[in-house]
């Protein structure tokens, strides 16, 4: 990965919505070169997708519940944790799965419309998997910062005086 690619990736990691012509100007490159580079990075799967960070709490009638579940599992011979992880991450309700060091094995993030819905998923689907030994569920009460972005950032406002030497 060269410097150019890294600079481009950092720019769109911060803002997936940044148009190619702006990226070209910011990097002092030709727009065609940038388009080509993006295509290449998509092909290499360095860029996996473009998502939007949404504060659903601001949208009417749409309150989402997120739970972080600590899962203890029995790893399987030959495939380790990968097989059971796959069994879990294939469910669309599951938004993230990480293999962890420490007192449990998998950290599973689950989204649903209500606590009951998530509770049902855990008791019916997750904890009933053969290799799952135990689950500990933590519900998220408030999101302050997500993926490096502060949700209610009052710092956005420019506090500088308009003209200064």
């Amino acid at each position: 990965m060269n410097e150019l690619e890294i600079e481009l990736l950092k720019l769109i990691e911060r803002n997936a919505n940044l148009e190619a012509d702006k990226i070209a100007k910011l990097m002092g490159k030709d727009i065609e070169e940038i388009r080509e580079l993006i295509k290449e990075l998509e092909k290499k799967k360095a860029i996996l997708g473009y998502s939007t960070l949404i504060d659903w709490a601001k949208v009417l009638d749409k309150e989402e519940v997120t739970a972080m579940v600590d899962v203890k599992v029995t790893p399987a011979r030959g495939v380790g944790f990968d097989k059971v992880a796959e069994r879990i991450y294939r469910f669309p309700e599951v938004k993230a799965v990480y293999l962890m060091s420490g007192s449990y094995d998998l950290s599973v993030s689950i989204k649903g419309n209500t606590m009951t819905e998530i509770g049902r998923f855990i008791s019916e689907k997750l904890s009933t998997l053969e290799s799952v030994l135990s689950t500990t569920t933590h519900f998220v009460l408030k999101r302050y910062k997500h993926d490096g972005i502060i949700l209610e950032d009052n710092d956005e406002e420019d506090k500088r005086i308009v003209v200064s030497p």
Binding site: L26, G28, D155, D158, I161, V162, V163, S164, P165
Partner: protein
């Protein structure tokens, strides 16, 4: 009682800064996009702020040594060594000041006798010439020229020298032009300076903010360290303008004299700011790097946008200012800036407030978010379409 008559003649004769008038105009409008701000748009990195909290909680609320905390002077000294290969002893060759501005004032008051001349290359930071006057000296201005990309030429210094010339102010990279002088270019100036035995006040507050070439600090040039007072601070690269923290480094005799003025007029720089600066030097590099990368991108963006608009703008090598020519519009700098502010609510600074050769140019600071810059360029496009 005629109060005005009590004001010293020196101060009364001082012209108010041309920037001030613009500030008053712009302050009355809402939705102004300001490219008129000479400071970073970044808030001070959190670890610097947090360190200052910690220092306050620990009860560090009293004076420090006049020259600044020795721990901070040590860090400054090692920073200058690592970044610019400069050797300054933290014990007697570094002073911590209230912003680089105070360091300039201290340096001038230290070296200037009544009637001494100090050469100032304009367009320049608006405070240089007034600071020379307040110190009792006479500023002798040189106008750098657009055909040399506003780079100061050795022959210009030569022409400005008189028997009363004591010192010259240099600022590299330059505010407002963004002009960057390379090591070779500085060496040419150094030759004249040495021949005429001048002292140099080298304002290097933007030294970190250079984008294309390696930076050469003026005192690192052969023979220049003994005749240079290096001035810098935390405002620009470390995004700490409001903390008011700068420093000077130079020959111990001169620094000692500066400390003498400082102890009688200021005591010391703010203690909590000194603690934040300590953290900035110890652990601030990643944040500074990130800001530099962002400034570079925005420079590329604004320079290419301004050129597209027909406002000729060479690539500035440093600082966070673009200095495009507005001559194509047939307007004066002041007219351009005023009309742009009235019609499109975009604030830029007319180039002539920084010196007469700045006429025909405007200073646009790109230390503002990409979103704001983009919108400013759209508004300026509309403005230009009505005129050219």
């Amino acid at each position: 009682m005629n109060k005005v008559s009590y004001i010293s003649r020196n101060v009364a004769e001082l012209k108010p800064s041309g920037i001030r008038r613009f500030f008053d105009l712009a302050a009355q409008m809402d939705d102004v996009i300001s490219l008129g701000v000479g400071e970073p748009d970044f808030v001070t990195p959190w670890n610097f702020i947090e360190q200052s909290f910690h220092a306050l909680e620990q009860g560090y609320t009293s004076y420090t040594e006049n020259a600044g905390m020795i721990e901070l002077r040590k860090e400054i000294s090692s920073y200058l060594q690592k970044s610019f290969r400069l050797d300054y002893s933290p014990d007697d060759q570094v002073i911590v000041s209230v912003g680089a501005s105070q360091a300039i004032d201290l340096a001038l008051r230290t070296i200037v006798d009544q009637g001494d001349e100090v050469i100032v290359a304009e367009p320049s930071f608006v405070a240089y010439a007034p600071a020379v006057r307040l110190a009792g000296g006479t500023p002798v201005t040189i106008q750098t020229q657009p055909e040399y990309e506003f780079k100061l030429q050795a022959h210009q210094i030569e022409e400005a020298i008189t028997p009363r010339t004591k010192a010259i102010m240099l600022c590299n990279p330059n505010n407002p032009t963004g002009t960057f002088l390379s090591g070779d270019e500085l060496a040419q100036l150094a030759a004249v300076i040495e021949r005429h035995d001048l002292l140099v006040l080298s304002d290097e507050i933007y030294a970190e903010l250079t984008y294309d070439e390696t930076y050469t600090s003026f005192p690192s040039i052969d023979g220049m360290k003994e005749r240079t007072i290096l001035i810098s601070g935390f405002s620009k690269a470390f995004a700490m303008t409001g903390w008011r923290l700068g420093y000077a480094a130079g020959p111990s005799e001169i620094i000692a004299a500066m400390v003498k003025i400082h102890q009688y007029t200021m005591m010391c720089a703010p203690t909590m700011a000194q603690h934040a600066a300590l953290e900035a030097l110890k652990n601030g590099k990643p944040s500074v790097q990130e800001m530099i990368e962002s400034y570079k991108q925005r420079r590329n963006f604004i320079v290419s946008s301004l050129n597209e608009l027909g406002l000729y703008c060479p690539n500035p090598g440093g600082a966070f200012y673009a200095f495009p020519s507005i001559k194509a519009t047939g307007l004066t700098s002041a007219e351009f800036a005023e009309q742009l502010l009235q019609e499109e609510h975009v604030a830029v600074i007319p180039g002539d407030v920084f010196g007469e050769s700045g006429e025909g140019y405007i200073r646009c600071s790109y230390a503002t978010s990409l979103k704001q810059l983009d919108e400013a360029m759209n508004r300026m496009k509309r403005f230009m379409e009505k005129r050219v």
